[in-house]
Symmetry: C2
Subunit: 316 residues, 2 copies
């Protein structure tokens, strides 16, 4: 099936389960830039981030047998909570593999949504090995955080909905971690309106995807020191990298200062709580990585931020 | 004219100038309470609070002569910014009287919207005297923060819009400072649906309106030590007190802890930035001052919070 058809099918599948999140605007920002900026507010999505879309799209397509055996994933962030919540909604047992040193708060949040958390020592093994072992022993199905076409198609529904509502965009700015959201949104945007330029945004200190995009060769980065924790993934994936190369028009990086300025603008001016990774698109505008012109879409990808991070940003 | 007609007229007058703010819900809160709670998000109103409604309704009704002479008000909070912004939009010169010891940030915010700020020494004179003096000398028209029927009618449009959208409510919870928002919303709610109970909420340490309501005699409180700065007004007014007695069904108080818990719930769970005064309605539910049943409306009255207050709440 054509990829855009997969996004449309995902949109039908998640209907009534995911929120159709609101699109918001800021008169102040429009006056500052001379552009018209439309924010797709995935911070208001269920469990607080776009990840619910992909997890629901992927998990609802499992066979009855797979559902009975349960699913497994590795993540200490939003994807873990998305899988746990979707598992609860669909009656699927979920196991989340997390390093032993993951913050207790993330472990508890994932457990609160109903998942079992399995710890591992990252010095002794990798999360992929742990997952494979559990897959083999218990027949769990792996729901990867980004590198699967059903995840990509699900995330793409965010851009599909945005263009359903605002109709025309000159450019769409999308945060980039593992590239699931970016490639899905690019497929959706091009399917809706081929003239819409799609730009992926990542932190300057975690610019693996930007390098990969410009060289055509997969670059990786290890534990990049960015406040945008959702983009600390080492690289694009086997599924997302080719899609980014084919559908995305450009990649831009932003400084840590621009990210924090964006989070503060969203808090103080727009009254929105957005996590650092979710604010990358606005950071690109505030930090002059992208010169906004015409009608600009921005995906605010999530709003899950802890008190320590928020205080650090308020003090910045 | 019947009072509810004034609210309807105000709604027409502010159309296209004020935002029709969104109504949001929280699955988590509904699950916790068994009720259906609808939040009217005035934190997304222009300049970040409901105060824009009343200021626009009052100032747009001034005569050409009054507009030419300019307006004056006293406030160091949201009303000052509302008057300043409306003045800019309508081409009316605005003067805001503020104590010399008001925070610089508030003075600057008001000036940024285009008002002239006049300071005074609160040990030597009162803001009312300063205003009267300027009224007499320059012919400025006073736009009071709450105690005027055109202000009351403007603020009531918040509840009117909420009931336009959600149709039926069993109870409506409204923050109470000087009573402009509360009395306006009560008039609007009763006009829309006479069975809707309207409850005013104020901080336990600033319970002048609650006492006034229960005794029928005007109580005052001086500089109450509440984090909810929008409710530090000394008492209800000559216009608002009789309206509160006639239209409001009950008054409840909330602790400072409940207020901070409500702000945190809105930040972490709903991804909304709401100032302490704006969170009083939710505080009444979280702190068990009100037992929510059926369909509950809550006016989140504003979102203007500074970094110091936000950090204090995050640490609480």
């Amino acid at each position: 099936m054509e990829l855009f058809e997969l996004v449309k099918a995902a949109q039908k599948r998640i209907e009534g389960h995911a929120h159709v999140t609101p699109v918001m605007t800021s008169r102040t920002l429009n006056d500052m830039t001379g552009a018209q900026v439309f924010f797709k507010c995935e911070n208001f999505q269920r469990m607080g981030a776009f990840k619910f879309r992909g997890a629901f799209n992927a998990m609802s397509q499992l066979t009855e047998e797979q559902k009975k055996r349960g699913v497994i994933t590795y993540s200490s962030g939003n994807h873990a909570q998305a899988v746990a919540l979707v598992g609860r909604l669909l009656g699927i047992r979920t196991v989340v593999v997390m390093p032993d040193n993951a913050p207790v708060i993330k472990r508890e949040a994932t457990e609160a949504y109903g998942a079992s958390v399995v710890g591992y020592n990252p010095d002794e093994t990798t999360r992929e090995d742990i997952c494979r072992d559990l897959e083999n022993r218990h027949g769990h199905t792996l729901v990867p955080p980004y590198d699967h076409i059903n995840i990509v198609a699900g995330q793409g529904t965010a851009a599909k909905e945005l263009l359903d509502e605002v109709e025309k965009l000159d450019v769409l700015l999308v945060p980039c971690g593992g590239g699931g959201l970016l490639s899905g949104c690019a497929v959706a945007a091009k399917g809706m309106q081929s003239t819409c330029r799609v730009i992926g945004i990542e932190p300057e200190v975690a610019d693996d995807a930007t390098k990969s995009f410009h060289t055509g060769k997969l670059h990786t980065v290890k534990n990049p020191p960015t406040i945008a924790d959702g983009t600390r993934t080492p690289s694009l994936g086997n599924v997302t990298f080719p899609l980014v190369l084919e559908y995305v028009d450009g990649m831009k990086t932003v400084t840590e200062k621009a990210i924090m300025d964006a989070v503060k603008f969203l808090l103080y001016r727009m009254k929105l709580v957005v996590e650092p990774s979710g604010a990358l698109g606005l950071a690109a505008i505030l930090g002059s990585s992208v010169k906004p012109k015409g009608r600009v879409g921005i995906v605010l990808s999530g709003g899950n931020i802890d008190a320590a991070t928020m205080k650090m940003i308020l003090d910045s």
